[in-house]
């Protein structure tokens, strides 16, 4: 795949293209994949790498709940109890996980 096409007209490879898509306001990784014409797996790997490089910031946002915590708790503690505002979701938390990714300025 041509690297030039990834960035939607801008030069560079997948990483540059992914950064450009974020910058242009893409709302989901699917949308990033569509805009960059890249497989989703490559977009996910690119995002992981950009996070490692410090170019992107990713934060996991939980709407699930811990096994024995409050029924609608957003952030259960690791011991499974309801713990509002924990820094990370409980490892025992069930339910879907959303990841918010933002460009580091």
């Amino acid at each position: 795949m041509s690297a030039a096409t990834h960035a939607g007209g801008r030069g560079g490879g997948p990483l540059t293209a992914v950064l450009a898509a974020f910058d242009a306001g893409a709302h989901s990784l699917d949308e990033v994949a569509r805009r960059c014409d890249l497989p989703l797996d490559t977009v996910r790997a690119s995002v992981d790498h950009l996070v490692r490089m410090g170019r992107l910031e990713a934060k996991e946002l939980a709407i699930g709940c811990p096994t024995s915590g409050c029924g609608s708790c957003a952030s259960g503690t690791d011991d499974g109890a309801a713990g509002c505002g924990s820094s990370a979701p409980s490892s025992r938390r069930s339910g879907p996980v959303l990841v918010a990714i933002s460009l580091r300025r």
Binding site: M1, A3, H6, G12, G13, P14, L15, T16, F22, G25, A26, H27, S28, L29, D30, V32, A33, R34, L38, P39, L40, D41, T42, R44, A45, S46, D48, H49, R52, M53, R55, K59, L61, I63, G64, C65, T67, G69, C70, G71, S72, C73, A74, S75, A82, C84, G85, S94, G95, P96, L98, V99, A100, I101, S102, L103
Partner: protein, 653 residues
């Protein structure tokens, strides 16, 4: 970067081997196993070395490695199982060790690097391959997790991948030891071949070495390899999801579809749960109440106020809550099915877009979505917002999201006063809630936070899937359990307080022997009632429920059950029935405009302070000043809106 001491090949690591001789002889060829975490590297190492291995810390480090002998075409190789590492650019001691061992020079230079890559996450696994291929080290890619990839519809052509990477690729399953012979053959060939030809890397940009440019080039190379070797089946699956998303996440159709789905959820909930609710109601008000009364009489407390507390308070209050269990269970189940199917992630995108367009902080939608379950964690969830102004703004908006505790009151009033359209009425309350969030948000932005910008939000949309019954049931049970645990504690406590207030006479009478209309409870409510007369429900029975609701909305219905159980029967046809009593109260209070008064009451209930627990959470997050401002804002909005609804509604109802 962490410095890692080199170790002569085949020397014992400072492991738990207590100096026991290694199976590999001194001078044996060195084969290193590298790869990202959780790709099956250690399983492969165990399959290759069997019992001839030791595990321990690498000398001079706390990093644990495995080391053992492996028979490769007649000679024993020294195999080192390195810790998981995504790349040769270390961010941890584990990755520093991997880099040091792989890039070691002189006698410690590896003879072959086996990079273990997962077929299920191929692109992620290939960055390390790209870096190692830039050296003259012979590389073999061991492709694992083919079964996991296949279950996800991913098929990797090992031959095409090998051609794209320029090194051997062996598909194997170390758990079943299948494909290991192929690895033996490939590594044997490398050991005989010696030095490999590094892949050609374009020169660095003229402005000097650039980390991003180098990584970008590697990802371009990875993308070419993935595109050449991964089957189109994955693309087909994604296209199928994409096709649905063209409607589900579309700017105009998406929000309409979301509203339609939620209407179906509330309609189904209120319709299907009714027979079960009726059965439970009959059970609680009949046999359970009788049994409770009999028990109190038997222990000799039948003539004391305790009978009222147990039968009319605890049993009536908790029993009333229990009748809502089928309804809550059904709603939680339907929402869990929507979540598990992947639709809720689309709803999140749709909501986020709406908020962004209105100029509200995009990320604020997450705490607000949480708020529809419970406001307390939603206020705490505002911590995810990086900007302090966003946090204050969102925490002030959260109380306007209609939590599940308010749902029980909506359902009771909707089924009592609008039985033919109960589902639609409840749905309308959620629409009003969303509208309030948007309008109050816009109002605050126009006045207090004119400079608040919007943050972009990116969400990883999973493909649609058939919901798992077991998972959905388990999530439903967890949420129901949480609701019941919170509600039951609050209800028992408030029932006791309400009972105490209803037992204290104002004027004539003695403790526990006073009509509820002449109790301190009624008197306190009467003091506030005139304020709510313009909204059409300035009757003490209605106002008392709102006072109790200030503590927690879960206790609103139980307080009514308590009040009306002690009052005179309102109707000779249906003595003691809560619905008939409520009808009487609202009709008297509104001067006959019952529908308008009930609508105004529901709007007030939605908009005023959710509960003391939310206030505590707000105080923790925002401080006392903002919390007091929030309470004032909610009361002003609630009162204004309720008065508006009643005054306009009375023209039609």
């Amino acid at each position: 970067m962490t410095t890692v001491p080199a170790v002569p090949r085949s020397a014992p690591a400072s492991c738990h081997d207590d100096g026991a001789p290694l199976a590999a002889p001194v001078g044996a060829p060195l084969v290193v196993l590298a790869g990202a975490p959780n790709v099956g590297k250690s399983t492969l190492f165990n399959a290759l070395t069997g019992a001839r291995r030791t595990v321990g810390n690498w000398p001079g480090t706390t990093v644990e490695v495995g080391r053992g002998g492996w028979l490769v075409e007649g000679r024993v190789a020294d195999v080192v199982d390195l810790p998981g590492s995504y790349s040769l650019d270390p961010l941890s001691p584990d990755e520093a060790l991997t880099r040091a061992v792989v890039l070691a020079e002189g006698p410690d230079r590896p003879d072959v690097v086996v990079v273990v890559a997962s077929a299920a996450h191929l692109a992620r696994s290939l960055y390390l391959v790209a870096q190692v291929r830039e050296t003259a080290l012979p590389v073999v890619v061991a492709l694992t997790m083919g079964d996991v990839a296949e279950r996800r519809g991913i098929q990797v052509d090992a031959g095409a991948l090998a051609a794209a990477l320029g090194c051997p690729v062996v598909a194997l399953d170390p758990r079943r030891r299948s494909g290991v012979d192929g690895l033996v053959e490939a590594v044997g060939a490398c050991l005989s071949g010696g030095v490999a030809v590094p892949r050609l890397v374009p020169p660095a940009p003229s402005q000097g070495p650039d980390e991003l440019a180098a990584a970008d080039e590697r990802f371009g190379w990875i993308d070419t390899a993935v595109t050449a070797s991964v089957s189109a089946q994955v693309m087909t699956r994604r296209t199928w999801s994409d096709r649905i998303d063209r409607f589900a996440a579309a700017p105009v159709l998406g929000p309409l579809l979301f509203l339609g789905v939620m209407w179906v959820v509330f309609q189904a909930t209120t319709t299907l749960a009714v027979p079960l609710q009726d059965a439970l109601d009959a059970l609680v008000s009949g046999p359970v109440s009788s049994a409770g009364g009999w028990l109190v009489d038997t222990v000799g407390l039948g003539q004391t106020p305790v009978r009222g507390l147990v039968v009319d308070g605890v049993i009536a209050g908790v029993g009333m809550l229990l009748t809502f269990v089928p309804l809550m269970a059904l709603m939680f189940l339907l929402l869990a099915l929507l979540e598990d199917s992947g639709y809720m992630a689309r709803a999140a995108v749709v909501t986020d877009r709406m908020m962004s367009r209105l100029g509200l902080p995009g990320r604020a939608f997450l705490p607000i979505v949480v708020g529809f379950g419970c406001n307390v964690p939603a206020v705490s969830a505002t911590r995810i917002l990086p900007n302090a102004r966003h946090r204050v703004l969102t925490a002030l908006l959260v109380p306007f999201t209609s939590c599940s505790a308010r749902l029980t009151v909506y359902v009771l009033l909707a089924t009592t006063f609008f039985p033919a359209h109960a589902g639609t009425v409840v749905f309308a309350m959620y629409l009003v809630s969303i509208l309030l969030v948007v309008l109050v948000g816009l109002g605050l932005r126009a006045t207090l936070w004119r400079t608040v910008g919007a943050d972009p939000l990116v969400i990883d949309l999973p493909p649609y899937q058939r919901p798992t019954v077991r998972l959905s049931l388990s999530v439903t049970w967890l949420r129901l359990q949480g609701f019941l645990r919170t509600a039951s504690g609050i209800i028992v406590a408030t029932v006791v307080v309400v009972w105490l207030l209803q037992s204290i006479p104002v004027g004539a009478g003695s403790f526990g022997d006073v009509p509820v209309s002449q109790s301190l409870y009624a008197e306190l409510s009467r003091a506030v009632a005139p304020l709510l007369s313009p909204a059409g429900f300035g009757q003490w029975e209605a106002v008392s429920a709102l006072l109790v609701g200030f503590v927690a909305k879960e206790a609103v219905i139980s307080s009514w059950a308590q009040t009306y159980a002690l009052a005179e029967p309102a109707s000779s046809h249906d003595p003691g029935a809560l619905g008939a009593q409520l009808h009487e109260t609202f009709t008297v209070a509104s001067g006959g405009h019952t529908g308008a008064a009930v609508a105004a009451f529901m709007v007030f209930l939605l908009a005023y302070t959710p509960c003391v627990a939310t206030l505590a959470a707000q105080r923790r997050e925002l401080g006392t000043r903002w919390t007091v401002f929030g309470v004032g804002l909610q009361l002003v909005v609630a009162w204004t809106l309720a008065v508006l609804v009643f005054q306009v509604g009375r023209v039609f109802w």
